[in-house]
Each structure stands twice: as structure tokens, then as C-alpha cells.
């Protein structure tokens, strides 16, 4: 097995119940693995939640972790994927002084060229939003930081696999 450390996106389909985040994150904690980012949301199936977790580990490690995650009573199914197997995005918001944007053509170009979007604007500040790969967001952050950033926040990764995940069929089997 490949023993190189690389990013893996873990997708976990679960029942929507209290305390599960605790159970799942504890699996990483016990093995002393740092979670790069974690996002939980509803999924395409009513009543089923989806965790998207980004970690940097070896394939051998991630396989064992998936086993431990699937063992949790309220986990329906867990998968892991490499970057090549997924379509993924992060999102960020940046707050800058209104004067910076209004007085500086370069800043306006940065926003336009990066496909960022102005979320809100008032006399004191602008809030800009950008979604994309981590590297693109990093780049925008670096470029804008020359002009002064008031606040910056970035979301966890969300990802959709190129392959199908057959959760609905698995669930319908339960009722037969």
C-alpha cells in the first residue's frame, strides 16, 4: 500500500443525531491525527447528514480510520477519496476598509480577476466572498493582505465525488 502522506477527503453519511461529531472526531484524536477541516451539513437524503473531513495521512491510516468510523452505530457509510477523485471547494469571506477598495484600482481588479463577489458594502467596509480551491483562496488572501485585511474567515472543504455513492439504495434495503 502507498505509504505517502497526502490529503484525503472523507465523506461520512450519518443519521442526524446529537453527539456524533464528538464520536467521529474522537477517532482522529485517539490516533493523534489533526483534522485539517471539517464540515457537516444535510445531504441529498432527508434526515441523513453528511460530514466532509479533510485529513493528511497515509492510505493505510485512512483505511483503518474509515473502518472505525463505519463501526459507529449511527454512521450509515463512510468513504475516502483522493483529490483526483473529487470536485471540491472552499469558501472564504474577507472584510476590507471601504477606502481601500474605492481608492485602489488594483484591488478592484483583484476582486474581478479572482471571480470574487461583493456580499455587502457600506461606508466603512466591504465584505468579499470567494469560493474555489485552497490555493486560489490563499492567493487572494496574500494579494489583498498588502492593502490591509480587517477580518478573514475560511470554510472547511466541501466535496462531491466523481463516482456515484449509492446511499439511497443502501437505506432502502433496510426496510425490506
Amino acid at each position: 500500500m502507498n505509504n505517502e502522506i497526502k490529503p484525503f477527503t472523507v465523506s461520512v453519511y450519518t443519521e442526524n443525531s446529537i453527539g456524533l461529531l464528538n464520536r467521529i472526531s474522537a477517532i482522529f484524536q485517539r490516533r493523534h491525527i489533526n483534522i485539517e477541516s471539517i464540515n457537516t451539513s444535510v445531504s441529498e437524503i432527508p434526515g441523513v447528514s453528511r460530514f466532509t473531513i479533510l485529513v493528511e495521512v497515509t492510505e493505510e491510516q485512512i483505511k483503518k480510520i474509515i473502518g472505525q468510523i463505519e463501526k459507529q452505530v449511527e454512521v450509515i457509510k463512510a468513504y475516502y477519496h483522493t483529490d483526483e477523485q473529487t470536485i471540491y471547494q472552499e469558501s472564504c469571506m474577507i472584510k476590507i476598509k471601504s477606502s481601500v477598495l474605492l481608492e485602489n484600482q488594483k484591488v478592484q481588479n483583484l476582486i474581478k480577476d479572482n471571480g470574487a463577489r461583493i456580499v455587502t458594502a457600506n461606508k466603512e467596509f466591504f465584505v468579499i466572498e470567494k469560493s474555489g480551491r485552497k490555493s486560489e483562496i490563499d492567493q487572494l488572501y496574500r494579494d489583498l493582505s498588502h492593502y490591509g485585511i480587517m477580518q478573514f474567515v475560511r470554510s472547511g472543504r466541501i466535496a462531491i465525488t466523481k463516482d456515484e455513492m449509492k446511499i439511497t439504495e443502501m437505506l432502502s434495503a433496510f426496510y425490506q
Binding site: 450519518t14 443519521e15 442526524n16 453527539g19 464520536r23 483503518k64 463501526k71 452505530v73
Partner: protein, 577 residues
């Protein structure tokens, strides 16, 4: 919680009835066939105790002297009866006192349901009197846990709890119930749970893997089985015996697997692991096919993984997919309940006897006998050995007793020398190694199987960790036999200090109280033996006594348990001295 995620057993006449949450809890327990529970009251669980008063004739509540004792007793009950053990405690300190036992049950796959009271729901998260986040605390050591804040959730959560605790790979479940939910009235109706949508306790059996496994076993010249508790938990003793007999497989056990087949079975070649037998440990690194059945390759069994059975093809019969390839890379995993997989593989197996290879086990046993066993069982020196005490217990109980051992040297000696003739006879804390386990676990074991002789074998150290349970024994009159092997040391740690820390006995010497007087203080007949010539009569008296009995045997202070695989060493480096 989503009702649509559970499957319920159809029962025809479910009439609903308006009752309180506390009464509902008792009704749930009765519906699950619970007639004994272990616990300790307190403010946040008092409504349930009040109901228990009403149901005294249907459900026996055993008041232990500490909540740790309650879980261990529930574990002992579960381990010997194959049913779910139940323990109950109040919130805060009551709940946290359960944690050691819950962790022990988790690692040893013991089905227990723990019920804890909790502060009223409007106080949750406010650091109220006796509030602890027991759901948070117990999360890493439970198979499942849940907090109930509304009485109406009780039936469904209890049904689910029992189903989860006992199905698949069993384990502990904790239910935390707020005090207001215990008082609240609702329309009660109960249906057993038969499935949880997200939970697949029995993996699908794969025909291909069975074929592959059978082929490997049929071709093997030097096959060897290592079985664990999975055989007992799967109630697969018969299937297991038929399997090894047909293929003529020498078979060794982990300490939790002990007693699945009798020690005297010709294919039983002894115990693996740190203080296991010489032959199965050494031959693990010579066999050509290693067949692991319902065991999890614990590091106490494998020693150094880099050198463990590298020459062998490995087959793993296992119910828990997360165990496959966790520690040891396996060539052929056979997922499923061993009761099913072992019977399905039978027709694919060739009959065999492997006489030459089995003789190798015998040859190494003879070496171990001369070097170690003979001196343990038939000592010529003055001091009493733990081994000869065990031999005496075997004689007096005709090897039919259930042995509940604590943790330390006496535990290893008990596992090595007790005659296990009946399944579920070795009740001990394997994975967690919890000192203090045996005394309360023996109480539960005797209640779980009143027809069996239950002998607790305990060291002077571990005895004092839960010695207060003598009070429970006195009050319930449960006829357990307590045998303390007193070496006036925390013996197992002292052994390590002697072997690996230049005999620096840091904090392992024990100045002990007069144990006989203490037992008598609890009105338990008691006796101490210091001389070999008194041993037989004393053990006889203990076994023949109708009620509980305490026997202390002063054993050699600095005896060691051998063979031994030093921690982290290879199984091939097993030491005979």
C-alpha cells in the same frame, strides 16, 4: 431521534398506558427480560428507585458498595449468562464511578446497559449540583450512548440500547435520563427493536472468502488456530469444535477465548500471549497457515508485529470489519458471525490429522513442563506457589468451576492452570486489565449462573481496590468463593521491576491488613493458610461451604510467572526463565 430509522418487532396487543418515565424504565427492563440489576441510588435517579420498590417481586436490585462494583457485577453476569447485564447510578459522581467498568466492557466486548440519572433538563450545561457530561465522558468507551430528556423517548431508546448492546460485536451502552423525564407522564407502549438503519451488526458472508480460506486450510502442512472470545460470544463452541476436529487443527486461545473447548481436548494446545504457553507462542512463527477466529491480535498476544507470523498465510474469521487488517495484515478475511462462517466452511474442508506437526506442540509442551509447570504445580521448595493452589481448586471443583480472576500474576496463573471444562468459565479483565474487577464480577457471575461454582482468584493488591463489595456479598448472601493469593506485593509489577528495573521495588511492597478479620467483620466465614499441609483441607472447606467463603493463601513472595514474552519482543523470544 428518527422513528423511521428503527425496525420494531411486531407485537399484537400493544396497548398504550399513561405512566411516568420512571415506571416506563422498569417496564422496558422487564420487557427485555431483565430480572437483576446492580446499582447505587442518589438524587438524580431516585424516582426510578422509588418505582423499583414497587416492582421488588419482579426485579432484583443489588445494592453494590460502589458504582464500579455495579458495572463489574453486571459484566460478570453478562459474561457467564450470555445475557445483557444492567447497572444503574445517579448523576455526577455516581456516573463517573461507572466509567472504569464501561471501558472494561467496551474493550472486552461485554453487553451491558448502564442507566444514569441526570439533572433536570433545564439545568443541563449549567454546572448544576452533581451534573457531569456523562454522555461526553463515556463516548469513547461506549458502543452507543444517548441522553433522554423527554419521557416519551424512553421506550424507543431502551429498545435500541438492548439491541445494540447484544447484537453483532457486543458492547456497553449508556442511557442518561434527566430527572424531569423520570417524572413526566406519557402514553407508554413497548416494542423490541430488531434493526437500526445505520447499523449492520452482521456483515454479509462472502462465499468466495470461505472458499479461499478452505483451500488454504486444506493445503496447509502446519496449520494453527488462535481463537478468541468471538467463539463464545457467537455461541459457536460446537461449530468451532467440529471445525478443528475435521481439519485436525492444533488450536490455541487468547485469555478471553479460554474455555470455549475444554483444556483437555486433544487439539487444545494452550494459551498464546505474554504469559501463554511455550509451544503455541513459538510455533506461531513456524506455522504455514494461521487461522485467527474471533480474536483481535492484541499486542499482548502478538508481541512485536514486525516479527509476528511473517512466514504464514493468515486467515481471519471476524464479525467486526474494523478489526481486519487493524494490527496484522491478513491474506484472507472471512467476515461474519463465526457461528455462521464456521458451519458454512465445514463442507469445503478435507479431513486431516496433522499428526507430525501436532507432535511438535507436544515436544515443546514437555520442555515447558520440565522447566516451569512441574515447579509451579508440584513445588519442592517451602513456600506455596500460586500454581499449586489452582491445582487444588481444580481437584476440589473437578475442574467445573467458573474462575473469575483479577489482574496480575495470579490472573496469569489462573488462566494457565485452571481446568476449563465448561464454556464461559474464564471471567477476567483482558483488554483493560482492571484491578478490582474480580470481586464484584464474581458476584454478578454467581447470580448469572447460580448452578455453577464461582471462585474468584484475586491478588492482595486488586482485592483492596473493591474490597467493599464484601458488604454486597454479606447482604445478598451470594455464595461466591473468594480466594486471595497473598504475596504481599503488587506481584506483577514487582516481577517487571525484578527483570527490567534492577530489582528496584518502588512502591510495590504491600503491608496488608488482617484479611480474615475483615471478612469476618462482614460475617463471611474465613480462613488463612500458610502451610502446604493445610491447603487441601482449606480449599475443601471453602468449596463445601454453602454460603460465601473467604480463603487467604500466603504464597511465595517473589515468585515469577513464566514463560514470558518481554513487552515488545517477538513471540519467538519467549523466555522460559
Amino acid at each position: 431521534m428518527h422513528t423511521q430509522t428503527l425496525k420494531k418487532e411486531k407485537s399484537e396487543s400493544v396497548k398504550s398506558e399513561r405512566i411516568t418515565g420512571s415506571e416506563a424504565i422498569i417496564r422496558c427492563l422487564l420487557a427485555e427480560g431483565v430480572n437483576t440489576l446492580y446499582g447505587y441510588p442518589g438524587g438524580a435517579i431516585m424516582p426510578v428507585y422509588d418505582e423499583l420498590y414497587k416492582y421488588q417481586d419482579k426485579i432484583h436490585h443489588v445494592l453494590t458498595r460502589h458504582e464500579q462494583g455495579a458495572v463489574h457485577a453486571a459484566q460478570g453476569f453478562a459474561r457467564i449468562s450470555g445475557k445483557v447485564g444492567v447497572a444503574m447510578a445517579t448523576s455526577g459522581p455516581g456516573a463517573t464511578n461507572l466509567v472504569t467498568g464501561i471501558a472494561d466492557a467496551q474493550i472486552d466486548s461485554t453487553p451491558v446497559v448502564c442507566i444514569t440519572g441526570q439533572v433536570a433538563s433545564h439545568l443541563l450545561g449549567s454546572d448544576a449540583f452533581q451534573e457531569t457530561d456523562i454522555v461526553g465522558i463515556s463516548t469513547p468507551v461506549t458502543k452507543w450512548n444517548h441522553q433522554i430528556t423527554k419521557a416519551s423517548e424512553i421506550p424507543e431508546v431502551f429498545a435500541k440500547a438492548f439491541y445494540i448492546a447484544k447484537s453483532g460485536r457486543p458492547g456497553p451502552v449508556l442511557i442518561d435520563i434527566t430527572k424531569d423525564a423520570q417524572f413526566e407522564e406519557f402514553d407508554f407502549e413497548y416494542q423490541k427493536c430488531t434493526g437500526v438503519r445505520s447499523y449492520k451488526p452482521y456483515p454479509k458472508v462472502d462465499e468466495k472468502s470461505l472458499k479461499e480460506a478452505a483451500e488454504l486450510i486444506n493445503k496447509a502442512k502446519k496449520p494453527m488456530v488462535v481463537w478468541g472470545q468471538g467463539v463464545i460470544l457467537g455461541k459457536a463452541e460446537e461449530e468451532f469444535k467440529a471445525f478443528i476436529e475435521k481439519a485436525g487443527l492444533p488450536s490455541a486461545w487468547t485469555i478471553l477465548g479460554a474455555s470455549a473447548i475444554p483444556n483437555s481436548h486433544p487439539l487444545n494446545v494452550g494459551m498464546v500471549g505474554m504469559h501463554g504457553n511455550y509451544a503455541p507462542n513459538l510455533l506461531t512463527n513456524q506455522c504455514d497457515v494461521l487461522i485467527a477466529i474471533g480474536m483481535r491480535f492484541d499486542d499482548r498476544v502478538t508481541g512485536n508485529l514486525q516479527t509476528y507470523a511473517k512466514q504464514a498465510k493468515i486467515i481471519h474469521f471476524e464479525i467486526d470489519p474494523a478489526e481486519v487488517n487493524k494490527n496484522v495484515m491478513v491474506d484472507t478475511p472471512v467476515l461474519g458471525d463465526v457461528k455462521v462462517t464456521l458451519s458454512e466452511i465445514m463442507p469445503m474442508l478435507n479431513e486431516n490429522s496433522h499428526d507430525g506437526w501436532r507432535a511438535e506442540f507436544q515436544r515443546l509442551y514437555d520442555i515447558e513442563f520440565k522447566k516451569i509447570i512441574e515447579h509451579d504445580l508440584y513445588p519442592t521448595k517451602d513456600g506455596l506457589t500460586m500454581g499449586e493452589v489452582l491445582k487444588e481448586v481444580n481437584l476440589q471443583t473437578r475442574g467445573m468451576a467458573a474462575i473469575v480472576s483479577d489482574v496480575g500474576q495470579h490472573q496469569m496463573i489462573a488462566c494457565r492452570y485452571a481446568n476449563f471444562n465448561v464454556s464461559k468459565s474464564n471471567i477476567t479483565s483482558g483488554g483493560l486489565g482492571t484491578m478490582g474487577f474480580a470481586l464484584p464480577a464474581a458476584i454478578g457471575a454467581k447470580m448469572g449462573a447460580p448452578e455453577r461454582e464461582v471462585v474468584a482468584i484475586i491478588g492482595d493488591g486488586g482485592y483492596q481496590m473493591t474490597i467493599q463489595e464484601l458488604g454486597t456479598i454479606f447482604q445478598t448472601k451470594v455464595p461466591v468463593k473468594i480466594l486471595v493469593l497473598n504475596n504481599e506485593f503488587l506481584g506483577m509489577v514487582r516481577q517487571w521491576q525484578q527483570l527490567f528495573f534492577d530489582k528496584r521495588y518502588a512502591s510495590t511492597e504491600m503491608i496488608n491488613p488482617d484479611f480474615v478479620t475483615i471478612a469476618k467483620g462482614y460475617h463471611i466465614p474465613a480462613q488463612k493458610v500458610t502451610k502446604r499441609e493445610d491447603l487441601t483441607a482449606a480449599v475443601k472447606e471453602m468449596i463445601e461451604c454453602e454460603g460465601p467463603y473467604f480463603l487467604e493463601v500466603a504464597v511465595e513472595k517473589e515468585d515469577n510467572v513464566f514463560p514470558m514474552i518481554p513487552s515488545g519482543a517477538s513471540v519467538s523470544d519467549i523466555r522460559l526463565e
